[in-house]
Symmetry: C2
Subunit: 203 residues, 2 copies
Amino acid sequence: MTNQERRDSTRTRILASARDRFTSAGFDATSVADICAASGVSKGAFYHHFPSKQAVFVALLERWIAELDESVQSAAARNEPVPRRLENLAGLVGQVSELGSGQIPMFLEFWRQASKDPDVWRLTIDPYRRFREAFAALIQEGIEEGSLRPVDPDAAALVLVSTGVGLVLQGALNPAEPRLPDAGGQAVRMLLGGLEKEASHES
Amino acid sequence: MTNQERRDSTRTRILASARDRFTSAGFDATSVADICAASGVSKGAFYHHFPSKQAVFVALLERWIAELDESVQSAAARNEPVPRRLENLAGLVGQVSELGSGQIPMFLEFWRQASKDPDVWRLTIDPYRRFREAFAALIQEGIEEGSLRPVDPDAAALVLVSTGVGLVLQGALNPAEPRLPDAGGQAVRMLLGGLEKEASHES
DNA sequence: TTATATAAACCGACCGGTCGGTCGGTATGA
DNA sequence: TCATACCGACCGACCGGTCGGTTTATATAA
């Protein structure tokens, strides 16, 4: 094995094991020795590749955000009417919830660390803001193309993103919930169509 | 001071300090010694009143849930049309976010512990289910009284509660967000009225 | 191709320090 | 007199991180 292969292999194994352990036991309760044992790597090798336990956490967070970013971009960019694109985005909720439902406690872990560690906070809050801006732009576009009512795009984006986050979190706590896979779609459809019977607004 | 007074005073001081420390530093990062120092209580006294650190956490969680339960019950029970009552409930989001905004990291702490500790999990999931059932009943009532469209009450309740949770969490991460105080109301109004321009549904 | 030198990857015993919880004893209200 | 409340030194376990030393790949020269 070349040095480069060794390096990649070891780093990958450390990250994978760390993600597993962080997910099932949490950041604090996972010791570096745990990660080493789970990945078949010595402590020396661990600290050869990462300066601290926290650094591994941040690396995982960055990867997670990059993936999510890509998913959102690709789901939002399709050339369709805005309501349809919103429904596509809603599908992400189910996707995130499923795609290793074990990943979701990790999501919680990110969030909790963010409220304590300024670095993690910035890493978390930035993409969050990006999401909201993307949603706001999408809604603005919908208003201009005439498919959405003239609401405040920023406020609507806040609500949409919050609903998504809430649904994912609900999935974290209650993975058995059968309604989850389509909950995102349901939510968007409700937001689009409204719950109230009398349609108090006309074109 | 009578024994009873001493007992109450000590327990109260421990709980208050524990809440402060858990909120600002998190459960794991708070040592029993921290709590003792902050509350002016010896370690012996601490373990005289609580069998473990976890027990203090659970006691705090129970108190928090009881408060929230009461708020929800009283906000939902008013004798008004369902949409109005939903808006009242939305006000709770702002209330929870404000009422000691420092409390919200604690909320995160509850959630994270719930995904690891079965006892905490049950304590958290039960009221959660109660909330959803209360919302579902409320929506059912709205459908029957004719003020809401005939949607699936359970699905709608899931969406409503998720949105609330998401908003609170958003507040936890970004306390400065100026839109938050009314975000709950905004969300409910959007859900009621719908975002889509063409009212595709008639009575 | 083989020998050698250098650096990168890896090893695991060890250290300083912390933490949850214990326990034998003391003070105080009933 | 008795039980309840309280005290704080202490214990064993564990943890993040270090460090001196070993193995393995690779670049270079013979």
